[in-house]
Symmetry: C2
Subunit: 478 residues, 2 copies
């Protein structure tokens, strides 16, 4: 037929898919030849594409030949060996295999009935993950109590949905204490606490939920302590505010520092505050026993989030949220009702969107085909790379390491030495030169007024050679 | 190596991917043998899987052989010929091809710099879509003014993000008029208007944004008129409320009715209210000139959303939001800054999450390989199927068609005839029998107190034969 229902004929698809798979394999194999950040100006793509969609369908060959010309022309190659900018994003072959199945079988698993398989695989996979990371029982579906996990798209959504759950809880609590209050009075008095080193998504969650976010001073080390939190709470309570939610970070984006979750957790228990832990990056490292100490006190948390799509080989998007969450966003409509509603999980109530992909397939494929052993090796390799890079930096007296290298992030800066310039100005200039040079791609950061460069290791195509090259470029620019 | 960085060796991936592609082709080819809704009980999967992830990686063959045993065991097959429950979800081969590239190239395009290609393809593809649907210029990036489109995951997110944008706008407006107001005072007086037939996600958006949702009576026809809206607004303004946002629906989930957008839009212009149009399902039909009348008045809308992942062959998730939206959720952090920030779009400000997939690839592949002609045929085929099914129903005097069949949804019910039972009771019983029978999968609905069955046509494996079978089952159960 001229326009088959699936867009193209199965045989055309089979051939095209084989070509596409080969392209992906070749892309990774030869990625060493690609510049991490592209030489394009804003608006570049409009000149490369027609202004309208074609009337008649084009051939696969036409589309395929445009992948390099159009798509790759302006790609930031997150997997290029010269890419050290953001924490690495997962890119594994088992994850890709699962996504082919997920796309091919196409179910939208918003409720148990909409796809029992999709919902149940997710509950079991969240338990597999929680057990692999040795998380407390309270976060496991198969454990005791109401807790369990859910796959969100991103850590931002996990922060927002837990904040909204905390908001509901506090509104109910305050209205039960004083029924004359309006929920808007309560809302206007709520406060969220987080580090001034925490991710921008915490501030965004506060904006979206209309709750004041108080940023706590994390000091030179980028760590929020119990003392800092307690002082803020005491001050706010005196001012008739309602401490509602703490978002502590394990592995900050800026410098991979760890808030003191044990101290913070004790305070949250006493003050009846929801403690959410954002371990988007570092959480994956808990799969190795030797790194579990970074999550000391986690049993005091109300919810815990980490991103398998960062460092656990499950391709984006897959953000794992473990909590006591349930029904915080419950809205029913008849056309979604079903008889088993009471005894099953309907994950649509655990998230912002209604529709959801069968993302747990990726977790299943990766955990099975790579195994706990393989994932541990993957983490350890990324950490070893960071240690190696740290050793390179320490050999050069012009540079210093700014934060302890605990996982896969090295923060460094040029010392002022004899120069008649502010240290920050020197490092900003160094960063500018590196950006202009284009051989490597970094993103700088600032903690406690100190500007520094960040080198994130552990991406799928990282290697000692890539790190040597990176170091050569930094020294040359310095 | 024992644990290669991408999980498995490239050659293993190549072979496994070929197998997976063949599986997907076979799945669709033989889907006629599959029951739309599975015979499983809640908790079925826990018995089929180990309680923990394996220590050592397993072979591809082991994982592959579990796809039927575990995954398909409890799948609701949205593409099975017996599935008429929800509006169909797209499942096209070009969409799948694009997802292989998206997964394989793995970039996270939260800002222009994070992947210029990802951002720019999205702006051009949103323009292609808007032009293909003949949407007003104000929704086009390449048009005049600040408008343009963005791909969201779901229509729920589109509703929420536009509501939040409207909330910010109204707070700014009210505080500029009276600086003594608190934003919580303003918030407490805001009202959202929507039909009592609109999707549950509108009510959920109101809950999440903490804004009262007033459901307007859509009457027997499921249509909100200007008169109904104006009366509600007048009453609310008398009570010192602030009408903030109207979510009108084109193609309701219940009965595929269309709010009177032209009348509603005129009122929103006069009253300075954000008008969002949820055309999640029906919007795709605008690609055919003969259906554009359903969106009469759309030029008065502030934002417009439709889901290419429903009826435009772009696999889930891909929800297209066109609006004047910008920076409603803007939060900056140094590590996301870049020099071109002022001249480029950073889509993270247009959505709830930070991270985002390269979803526009799917739109590009589908529009190019299927073409406007092919997509028009796809829509017309779904409509013809509904018309055909309507003709079957109309031949049987025991049944009646409850709502006009305009696109791909047929709403029907058994007449009471001489029976000594409430009509709703009869139809609820009919629905129960159909559910128990399992040959077809339907989801009922209720409008204005009338309970009815819904048959949604247009899925990739729908056909006249599938519709004949569906009708046979309904008649047999009746």
């Amino acid at each position: 037929t001229k326009s088959p229902r699936k867009g193209i004929e199965p045989e055309t698809f089979r051939n095209a898919a084989t070509t596409m798979i080969d392209y992906v394999i070749k892309y990774h194999k030869e990625i060493g030849n690609r510049q991490a950040f592209p030489d394009v100006e804003p608006g570049f793509m409009r000149d490369l594409l027609p202004s309208d969609a074609p009337k008649a369908g084009e051939s696969w060959e036409d589309v395929y030949s445009d992948i390099e010309r159009v798509v790759m022309r302006g790609m930031t190659h997150w997997n290029a060996p010269g890419f050290f900018a953001y924490f690495p994003t997962a890119s594994s072959f088992p994850g890709l295999l699962a996504d082919i199945l997920c796309g091919g079988a196409t179910c939208i698993g918003f409720s148990w009935v909409a796809s029992p398989s999709c919902t149940e695989m997710e509950t079991v996979m969240m338990d597999w993950l929680a057990k692999a990371l040795d998380l407390p029982q309270c976060f496991i579906h198969g454990g005791h109590g109401p807790g369990g996990g859910v796959i969100q798209g991103t850590a931002s959504e996990s922060t927002l949905i837990t904040l909204i759950a905390a908001r509901s809880k506090v509104i109910r609590r305050e209205l039960s204490r004083d029924p004359n209050l309006s929920m808007y009075d309560v809302l206007s008095r709520m406060v969220v606490y987080t580090s001034n080193c925490s991710h921008s998504s915490v501030e965004k969650a506060g904006l979206l939920a209309m709750i004041e976010v108080r940023k706590l001073d994390a000091g030179r080390e980028g760590i929020v302590t119990g003392k800092t939190l307690q002082e803020a709470i005491d001050e706010d309570k005196k001012n008739n505010k309602i401490p509602t939610f703490v978002c502590a970070t394990l592995g900050t984006t800026s410098c991979c520092s760890y808030d003191n979750v044990d101290e913070i957790g004790r305070i949250c228990e006493i003050e009846d505050i929801w403690l959410h832990i954002d371990a988007a990056y570092a959480g994956a490292a808990l799969i190795c026993p030797e790194f579990r100490h970074i999550a000391n006190g986690i049993q005091r948390a109300t919810s815990f989030n980490f991103n398998p799509h960062k460092w656990l080989m499950v391709n984006f998007d897959c953000s794992a949220l473990c909590s006591y969450l349930s029904n915080s966003a419950n809205v029913d409509a008849l056309y979604l009702e079903h008889e088993t509603q009471q005894t099953t999980i309907d994950y649509r109530h655990w998230q912002i969107p209604l529709g959801r992909r069968y993302r747990s397939l990726k977790v299943w494929f990766v955990l099975r085909m790579v195994g706990i052993d393989g994932l541990q090796s993957h983490i350890r390799r990324g950490v070893a790379e960071a240690k190696y890079f740290e050793s390179l930096v320490r050999k050069d007296e012009r540079f210093e390491i700014v934060f302890p290298v605990t996982l896969g992030l090295v923060c460094l800066k040029l010392k002022r030495l004899g120069l008649n310039l502010e240290e920050n100005v020197i490092n900003e200039e160094l960063n500018r030169k590196i950006q202009d040079d284009r051989r490597i791609h970094l993103v700088p950061s600032t903690v406690h007024g100190i500007y520094f460069l960040r080198v994130a290791t552990g991406s799928v195509n990282c290697s000692r050679q890539a790190l040597d090259n990176c170091w050569d470029v930094i020294r040359e620019m310095a």
